[in-house]
């Protein structure tokens, strides 16, 4: 167990190094990166000065070493459009993005379990049919379009939900202002409902299918038949025996899930003018503010790697079989 944890930690470190390498190489992929930092009307002289000031005249490996050195010291470069440290701006937008990600995760997981179970225990009926059809549709709808459609219908036509903006909850919480945080909460959630559904639907659909199929498989196992033949009520067999194992495949992909959700968040925030990292990235892309894009990508990737690590370690505790697989990576 100890060696597994150690190996998993080492693996995460390698991945983090990989992320810095990719982020660095992305900047070089289009040729001389100097041109990304100067205006189109810049003179040859200006270009030369900028190239030297930013260190792009040095050999690649030297540039990479200094890039990593800067990152290690917490220096993610200056945003070109804000004229402030890029990471400060990204961190300011982080709480809003965390709120949206958690909210969509809750939708994707909490609704998937009852829907998947309902479909599995009513296999072949209209329940099953409509749930699997819904799941198929959910995996085919572009999240940003779903957002636009909900804005049209629930926002502009029915006027049930706000169509843009965000009311902070985590930010006042972090500042120690619990009163504001609590009084904000209802409005925070109201603003999260439409974007949260838009982001979470894809994962909800996939998890529903996953739980349905994994439950169907588990229900045919010997130990479930034994539990039934002991005369246990069906509900008890389902909850205490079958579900326990049926939801393990879902736990395995929770880590990857965050990656999907983060990807969705980046696009959906733009649709709802939601002031998180996604909308910030969108603006940075349009202004070609490369340091800001880099800082945003590195932060999100870092969070993703950390979460994956945590999920894997939690999984180790949930599934006792993992203890036996110590020898394997």
């Amino acid at each position: 167990m100890g060696s597994y944890i150690l190996r998993r930690l080492l693996q995460s470190i390698v991945v983090v190094i990989g992320v810095t390498l990719v982020t660095f190489l992305a900047l070089q992929a289009g040729g001389d990166p100097t041109y990304l930092f100067v205006s189109e009307r810049a003179s040859q002289e200006e270009i030369e000065t900028t190239r030297r000031a930013l260190g792009f005249d040095r050999p690649l490996h030297v540039q990479y070493a200094s890039f990593v050195g800067d990152l290690a010291r917490g220096n993610f470069g200056q945003s070109l459009s804000y004229r402030q440290p890029a990471m400060d701006i990204v961190l300011e937008a982080l709480p809003a993005t965390i709120e949206l990600t958690i909210f969509s995760m809750v939708i994707a997981l909490l609704l998937a379990i009852p829907l998947g179970v309902l479909a599995a225990i009513n296999r072949g009926t209209a329940w099953d049919g409509s749930i699997t059809t819904f799941a198929m549709l959910g995996q085919s709808i572009p999240n940003f379009w779903l957002g636009i459609m909900m804005i049209l219908f629930f926002g502009l036509y029915l006027r049930w939900f706000p169509i843009s903006g965000h009311v902070p909850f985590i930010a006042p919480m972090m500042a120690g202002d619990f009163g504001t945080a609590i009084s904000n909460l209802p409005r925070t959630i109201l603003h999260l409902i439409l974007p949260g559904i838009a982001v979470g639907t894809y994962s909800l659909a996939r998890n529903t299918r996953l739980i349905r199929s994994s439950l169907l498989e588990v229900m045919e196992q010997d130990y479930v038949r034994t539990a039934r033949s002991k005369g246990l009520p069906e509900m008890r067999v389902l909850i205490h025996h079958a579900l326990r194992n049926a939801w393990l495949p879902v736990v395995t992909i929770i880590g990857l899930e965050f990656g999907f959700l983060l990807g969705g968040v980046v696009v959906v925030e733009t649709v709802f003018s939601y002031p998180g990292i996604g909308r910030l990235l969108f603006a940075a892309i349009n202004q070609r503010d490369i340091p800001l894009v880099q800082a945003g990508v590195i932060l999100l990737a870092g969070i993703f790697i950390l979460l994956n690590l945590v999920v894997d370690l939690v999984y180790l505790r949930l599934d006792p079989r993992m203890k036996l697989m110590e020898g394997r990576g």
Binding site: Q11, V14, V15, G18, V19, V22, T23, A26, L27, Q28, A29, G30, P33, L36, M136, L137, Q139, S140, I141, P142, N143, F144, W145, I148, M149, I151, L152, L156, R209, L210, S213, L216, E217, L256, G259, F260, L262, G263, V266, V267, T270, V271, L281, F282, I285, N286, R288, I290, V293, Q294, V297, L300, A301, F304, I305, N308
Partner: protein, 302 residues
């Protein structure tokens, strides 16, 4: 010499397999609609400009934001309305089909080729080759794909081929992992031993003996993959990272529709999204059908 070894008992069963494929399709019903839709979309993608009632980029500032079925210029009809610059939405949708399908299929070809070669090498040679390829794959998967795509496209700039490259490279790991696992198990099979004993070269064993026997399951992955690549393409186009603005795509049409959303110009937002959804849905349904057909035992698993 190795030809009859490389394809164990395939050709004799070919006709029967085709009939079974058709039967599974008819029983499942939905795959037929998927195939019909994809055929129609492919025809639109190839011959779109021939059917398009109007030039997709022709602006008409007098007939801006016309509702669906409104009269267009020169006695034509804006079947699905016109956009903020008076361009015909239906003609633009037909052009968008070309980008979506082309990018989807080209990206899968790029990613599939890289992944298959990497997986074959990894599985056949093992050792450090295997370690290197698989660790690179791990690193890539540990990175949310859309962020990777954003990073590279911001720097490389918009363009169909940059999009294909980034989306394609984003997919290779999936193929490599499956091909590797299959190659590992085939490597020890008798017909591969036989080819080796007959003195076939390593390259010939890998590409002519092993490869043909691992292709079938990949078609399932490819079908689901086209679906997710088309979704990613739409999202990137929506963010302005796709193809240049002069080429209409479903994603960029949706991006433009946001400006007129408050004014309730719903047709600009509804139709491109429906086009994306039906295309993606068709590929997903097709993937399900292929999986059922190739291995009925997998039916209940994901």
């Amino acid at each position: 010499m190795s030809d009859h070894l490389s394809v164990p008992a395939r050709d004799t069963a070919f006709r029967r397999e085709i009939r079974r494929a058709a039967r599974v399709m008819v029983e499942a019903r939905w795959p037929i609609f998927a195939v019909i839709f994809l055929l129609a979309a492919s025809i639109a993608a190839v011959f779109g400009p021939l059917f398009a009632p109007l030039d997709p980029n022709r602006q008409n500032l007098v007939l801006r934001l016309a509702e669906p079925m409104a009269a267009g210029p020169d006695g034509s009809v804006f079947l699905l309305g016109s956009d903020a610059l008076g361009r015909d939405v239906f003609s633009r949708l037909l052009s968008g089909a070309r980008v979506s399908l082309l990018v989807g299929i080209a990206a899968i070809t790029v990613g599939g080729t890289i992944g298959i070669v990497a997986g074959l090498l990894s599985g056949y040679f093992g050792g450090w080759v295997d370690d290197l390829i698989m660790r690179v794959g791990d690193i890539q998967l540990a990175f949310p794909f859309i962020l990777l795509a954003i990073m590279f496209l911001v720097v490389l700039g918009a363009g169909v081929w940059n999009l294909v490259l980034v989306l394609g490279v984003g997919q290779w790991v999936t193929y490599a992992r499956i091909v590797r696992a299959d190659t590992l198990s085939l490597r020890e099979k008798e017909f591969v031993e036989a080819a080796r004993a007959l003195g076939d070269s390593t390259l010939s064993i890998i590409f002519r003996t092993i490869l043909p026997n691992i292709l079938a399951p990949l078609t399932v992955i490819a079908s689901f993959n086209v679906a997710s690549v088309i979704l990613s393409e739409a999202a990137l186009s929506f963010l302005g990272l796709g193809v240049p603005p002069s080429v209409p795509t479903w994603g960029s049409m949706l991006a433009e529709s946001r400006d007129t959303l408050i004014a309730n110009k719903w047709w600009l937002a509804v139709f491109p999204g429906v086009a994306i959804m039906l295309t993606v849905l068709s590929f997903n349904i097709l993937g399900d059908w292929l999986r059922d057909f190739l291995d009925p035992r997998l039916r209940e698993r994901t």
